[in-house]
Symmetry: C2
Subunit: 144 residues, 2 copies
DNA sequence: AGGTAATAGTTGATTTTGTAACTAACAACG
DNA sequence: CGTTGTTAGTTACAAAATCAACTATTACCT
């Protein structure tokens, strides 16, 4: 197409990252969607509360780098399905503390197990050293 | 939250991949969106045609692992903006061959330059060996 | 040939996301 | 106090992604 066209999309990092990300997400998505009707942000909120305990929507958004409207909607969905409870802060009435109900905790534990297995399968075909490098690189790219 | 909770979302591979992918995509997206009003699938189609020359929608979809409805709509948008032309196949009238117009080629060359620089900036902070491992791992994860 | 299945691509309805504007509450500073 | 600015979270509307159904054409099979 062009004189010196040594460029290949297939190796362009944002493209590659997106491909790998989608493949990796899809297998896991199928499970939390089929089993609990959750969307991506839903399981993220669930996992944050499952792992770190009581948190506010704001803190989850900061930690997961997700916009507050997405969090707001995910929280609403999880609340409807009785996976979490809101309690308003005593000192600052803008703030809501979120905690998992026992149903939420059960779902979390179930999906955590799935996640562990799923990740094990994902890295199974990779050189362990590459996995270390991969995580390090991804952490750096996502800005930590 | 739980007895043996050694799980951390922040290191869960699909999560990490998605974080890095979004960060990496966003910087590039800003440019092709501002400059040409393109969406993600649009630039992918543009790049495939720019790099590999004449292709059908089907082949682009296969190569980029993108669903045909997305491709169809991206092609329609690019056609409207006079970035590509369709010609029907002589032997099989279902098939359309797509090629870039000169405007399309100009946009491609422009964005290819941007992509090169952008990627250089992305990997600048990384250990070169990690970049090699990263690409290898991503290729493997995305199934090649 | 004639019927059935498969393929390329488009369209429409529904769901989800993105963006901006909004409410309600607190903070800071005169 | 009081006005101005910030913050937590929600809502409304537009843009985009998803999924199923559709048209048109070709391939297969007997």
């Amino acid at each position: 197409m062009d004189e010196k066209d040594d460029f290949d999309v297939q190796f362009f990092l944002p493209y590659l990252l997106n491909q790998a990300s989608e493949v990796a997400s899809d297998g896991f998505q199928k499970i939390y969607k089929d089993r609990y009707g959750m969307l991506r942000t839903d399981w993220r909120v669930l996992f944050h509360l499952g792992i770190y305990g009581r948190m506010t929507a704001r803190d989850i958004g900061r930690m997961a780098q997700v916009h507050k409207t997405k969090i707001s909607r995910a929280v609403a969905r999880l609340e409807t399905r009785r996976f979490l409870l809101r309690e308003e802060d005593a000192a600052d009435r803008r703030v809501e503390h979120l905690t998992l109900t026992s149903a939420g905790q059960a779902a979390y534990r179930d999906l955590r197990g799935v996640a562990r297995n799923y990740e094990a399968r994902l890295v199974a075909g990779l050189d362990p050293q590459d996995v270390v490098a991969l995580r390090r690189a991804l952490l750096h790219l996502s800005g930590r």
